[in-house]
């Protein structure tokens, strides 16, 4: 995990929003979700995640509230708001497009 490449700027927000599109999660859940789905190739700095959450909450993309977890502990859960969903759609699409173009170029062989 430690030697996985750093996250491209701007992609963390989209990944978090994507995670939340599955349903409300607390911070650690989001990180675990991203680590599992990427089989460990996405390495999120734990601190950076919370900064991102604050930023997005401020922008009205997500909202948060205290809830009980499955094993009855209090945790702050984050949930997608309508503007966040819209943000995920547009930014996700452009990121996808970018990634595909990147992959195509890298797949080219001289000759």
């Amino acid at each position: 995990m430690a030697d996985s490449p750093p996250l491209l700027k701007g992609t963390l927000d989209v990944l978090v929003l994507k995670a939340l599109s599955w349903g409300p999660m607390h911070g650690f859940e989001i990180i675990s979700w991203l680590e599992q789905r990427s089989s460990g190739s996405v390495d999120v700095d734990d601190g950076a995640l919370y900064y991102a959450m604050h930023r997005m909450e401020e922008r009205g993309l997500i909202e948060s509230e205290w809830r009980l977890t499955g094993n009855n502990r209090r945790a702050r859960y984050y949930r997608l708001r309508a503007p966040g969903r819209a943000h995920l759609r547009t930014e996700g699409a452009s990121l996808e497009c970018y990634a595909r173009a990147l992959a195509d170029i890298l797949a080219l062989r001289p000759g």
Partner: protein
């Protein structure tokens, strides 16, 4: 955030431990991932979370505020009639306040345009008879030598002088000692200040500092002007420097500053030639109180040093009655009469605004009643009372701010009007000139401080008329309202009571304004009926001053003879006369009179005004001759000296005697050696119009050498000003290089003499009229609403046999109770408040019963008239309809 972090770390630790790490390793790794140490992570993430919370809160509040404003705007646009009336009322109310505030700011508040103005003192001589009086040069020099309080002192006087040369022009000057600019803290812009070596007691070389305006106008801002010569009254003055732009001396209009030490030494050695004001800048560490005390101590010493009895004059005045006084320059910036007028107007206009607020509060209470159901629903749905109050107050604030914006137009017009008042002359003849001419009406403008004032007043007003209805309407326990919607009898009466209180206060305020304006109007009527002692209709006046050297002093009478003959030849001119000072001029020149047949010590200082006139003057102004004769063409230089006195002089100085044939000395124009009184004429008011005539003496211009005279031309009707060009042309034919100025019809001079009273009376009358109509509207609104609410009750009464007349009386009685309560409170308040008008009134007391009765009667009738319409409506209620609806 801390809790969230703890949770996060625990989760991470258990995850890592599941992967096989020891608890310590797992914890270290979890913290490392959060960024460095635990403390850092907690602090930085905590800060970030706090910032987010704060921003979200602000945003939330802004959103609510935006919602409130949108709600308010929607509500206001749904009721365009109400909104228009409210904005208009507020616009006029706030605008009038801003305009008057601008005047108060310019004339009373704004700091004087000098360095550290609080350290400047004005020092005067005082005598128990004449109040304050100016200084002579020797007395100024004595004071300067013996004082210890001032870092710099200067004497200054002002007047007009002729700028001779190609285009002769009369320009205002100040004659000052060399420390003048140092005292005021003004730095010369180009060239140098007065050199120190000319600070002597007369006979110094002539040095002049010119204003920036004159520099631009006459020299096209040529820097080479320093050292050149300027011709004033045909004498060369060396230009030492140019004053900074905008600075025109304490008089506020001087184009040149002259060193008064250029005067001949013998002129400056006269201890009783009182012509100069004195100004000083306090030394560091000296307090105003110390300076005042010192002046009080120095004053008697100055009198001892220059006793009045030393010369040919004897006085009955005891030495201690002449002393000196110092006062901060700021306290004499405007005359006390003007200060009082301004503050009265400010108070009055504030009252108008208060009435407007009361009216709007009234309308809003009514509106809140009609929204009771909406309010109840909102409260029931869980809206906090604070939130609802905020909602309503936002509405009134939006309304007030709209009014504030509208008010700027009113304020702009108002400040334009006020700043256009011709300040110097108008104020001077009414005795309202202050000590600092630089403070004037032309400084009135809509500036940043006026805008801040408007904003603050608008917000205050919005809170004032919004809070009462908002608090009243959102009072909890409105379950009944929710159920009924129309409002139960109980709550209706409660709100009714607050509206009644509002109306009563409105009537009371209106009465205060009406009483005040009534008193001012009566006073003005008295002023307009004052007989000034002459007939100024159809008289044209103009001044001219012959530059020195153009006419030899001994030829002056002959010159004026030719001038009069030339003007008399102008078609439309019936009679022409010459005099040195117009009536209603806030005083003319005066001196001491002595009596040949009495020891001087018995008479004290007999002060008289001195007037130089041509033989035809009394006939031209129709001043009645009471006894003896007036002047003839034979009363010329060389002929026996004769005098004409007025009735006031005859009464005061010759009680029980016949003044005709008596010999007196008048200390002016060589008449101190004695002259015979040959006639007595009626009193003419030369001072302000509200001051009675003082003892005056008239001297024939034929026995004088005055170069500055005034022409009085009686025309054959129509506007005398129409003849001004022809008369000017006649003057130009006789005296081509003589500036003619101050060309005005006599009626215009008389109007100027009452202009301040007229302005105050007109403005107060206007304010009172607005107050009256607002009060009437308020009563009408409350009674209409009450009738509408009581339709059911009235219907029952009528169904039970009540007559229409008694229903009519029921409502009228309601109005009468409101009116009389308001009037009673208003009369008490007016008696207390109109006392501030005392010194502004002429011929009427502040408790004048006629004014009070008339105003209370008028207001009472207006209120009854306003009650009549709702009363008629009540009497017209159809019981069947009313009962069915109720």
């Amino acid at each position: 955030m801390r809790e969230e972090l703890d949770f996060h770390v625990e989760e991470r630790v258990s995850q890592l431990m599941a992967l096989g790490m020891s608890p310590e390793e797992a914890r270290a790794e979890a913290i490392r991932r959060l960024g460095g140490t635990w403390d850092d992570a907690e602090r930085m993430l905590g800060d970030s979370a706090d910032l987010k919370e704060r921003r979200l809160n602000v945003r939330e509040r802004l959103r609510e505020f935006g919602d409130d404003i949108r709600y308010a705007l929607r509500g206001l646009s749904n009721r365009p009639g109400f909104t228009a009336i409210a904005v208009l009322t507020l616009g006029i109310g706030i605008g009038a306040n801003t305009a008057i505030y601008s005047a108060v700011d310019a004339l009373l508040l704004r700091s004087l345009p000098f360095a550290e103005p609080g350290r400047l003192m004005d020092i005067v001589q005082t005598s128990s008879d004449d109040g304050t009086s100016p200084w002579s040069y020797p007395k100024y020099a004595f004071f300067r030598e013996h004082q210890r309080s001032y870092a710099a002192l200067a004497a200054h006087g002002s007047g007009q002088i002729i700028l001779t040369g190609q285009q002769p022009e009369r320009i205002p000057f100040e004659e000052v000692t060399t420390q003048y600019l140092t005292t005021l803290g003004v730095r010369i812009a180009h060239g140098r200040d007065f050199p120190a070596e000319i600070d002597i007691a007369g006979g110094a070389r002539r040095v002049v500092l010119i204003s920036d305006a004159l520099w631009q106008r006459r020299f096209s801002a040529d820097p080479g002007v320093i050292g050149q010569s300027l011709s004033l009254n045909n004498e060369p003055w060396e230009i030492a420097g140019v004053l900074p732009a905008g600075f025109n001396g304490l008089s506020g209009r001087a184009d040149v500053l002259l060193n008064l030490s250029a005067r001949p030494a013998e002129e400056l050695s006269q201890p009783w030639s009182l012509e100069y004001s004195m100004i000083g800048r306090l030394k560091d560490g000296v307090t105003v109180e110390q300076a005042i005390a010192e002046a009080g101590l120095l004053g008697p010493r100055i009198y001892t040093a220059f006793p009045m009895s030393g010369g040919s004059l004897t006085t009955s005045k005891a030495p201690e009655r002449w002393t000196a006084a110092a006062r901060p320059l700021d306290t004499i910036r405007v005359a006390s009469g003007l200060r009082r007028s301004l503050l009265v107007l400010f108070g009055a206009v504030a009252m108008v605004l208060l009435i407007a607020c009361v009216n709007l509060a009234n309308l809003l209470v009514a509106r809140a009643m009609s929204r009771k159901r909406e309010i109840a629903v909102r409260l029931a749905l869980g809206a906090g009372r604070a939130r609802l109050v905020r909602l309503f107050v936002t509405e009134s604030l939006v309304l007030a701010l709209l009014g504030g914006v509208a008010s700027l137009l009113v304020a702009l017009a108002g400040t334009r009007m006020l700043s256009a008042i011709n300040p110097q002359e108008t104020l001077r003849v009414q005795g309202l000139s202050g000590g600092v001419g630089a403070v004037g009406f032309e400084g009135i403008r809509l500036d940043a401080s006026a805008l801040v004032f408007t904003f603050v007043v608008a917000v205050a007003v919005g809170l004032l008329f919004g809070l009462v209805p908002a608090l009243g309407a959102t009072r909890p326990a409105l379950v009944g309202d929710l159920k009924e919607g129309s409002g139960g009898a109980g709550s209706g009466r409660r709100v009714g009571a607050s509206r009644r209180a509002l109306v009563v206060s409105e009537v009371a305020l209106a009465l205060v304004l009406l009483a005040g304006s009534g008193l001012m109007i009566r006073s003005l009527a008295n002023l307009l009926h004052v007989d000034p002692g002459f007939d100024g209709h159809d008289v044209l006046t103009l001044r001219l001053s012959v530059p020195p050297g153009v006419v030899a002093p001994d030829s002056m009478p002959g010159f004026y003879d030719r001038l009069q003959a030339e003007i008399a030849g102008v078609p439309g001119v019936e009679r022409v006369a010459i005099g040195d000072c117009p009536p209603l001029n806030n005083g003319c020149n005066g001196t001491i009179m002595t009596f040949a047949d009495r020891p001087q010590s018995n008479t004290g200082n007999a002060m008289v005004g001195v007037h130089w006139v041509s033989p035809g003057w009394f006939g031209t102004l129709r001043v009645p001759v009471k006894r003896g004769r007036t002047f003839t063409d034979a009363d010329r230089l060389g002929a026996p000296k004769v005098l004409v006195i007025n009735e006031a002089a005859a009464k005061q100085y010759f009680p029980g005697e016949d003044p005709l044939g008596k010999r007196v000395g008048v200390y002016q124009g060589g008449f101190h050696t004695g002259a015979e009184i040959v006639g007595i004429v009626g009193d003419v008011r030369y001072g302000t119009i509200d001051s009675t005539a003082r003892p005056d003496v008239y001297i024939s211009y034929g026995q004088a050498r005055l170069s500055r005279m005034m022409v009085f031309a009686r025309t054959s009707g129509g506007d005398p000003s129409a003849l001004a060009p022809a008369v000017r042309a006649a003057v130009a034919r006789i005296a081509p290089h003589t500036p003619v100025y101050d060309v005005r019809a006599m009626p215009a001079r008389i109007a100027t003499a009452t202009s301040q009273s007229r302005l105050v009376a007109v403005l107060l009358g206007l304010f009172a009229a607005v107050a009256l109509s607002l009060a009437v509207m308020g009563i009408y609104g409350v009674l209409s609403f009450a009738v509408a609410q009581r339709t059911g009750e009235i219907g029952i009464r009528m169904a039970l046999g009540a007559e229409r007349r008694s229903v009519l009386a029921l409502v009228l009685r309601d109005g009468a109770v409101l009116a009389t309560t308001g009037l009673a409170i208003g009369i008490v308040a007016a008696l207390a408040l109109t006392r501030v008008l005392r010194t502004m009134l002429f011929g009427v007391t502040t408790t004048d019963p006629l004014t009070y009765a008339a105003m209370a009667g008028a207001l009472g009738l207006a209120v009854l008239a306003a009650s009549w319409i709702p009363a008629r409506r009540a009497a017209g209620v159809d019981p069947v309809v009313a009962l069915r609806r109720g």
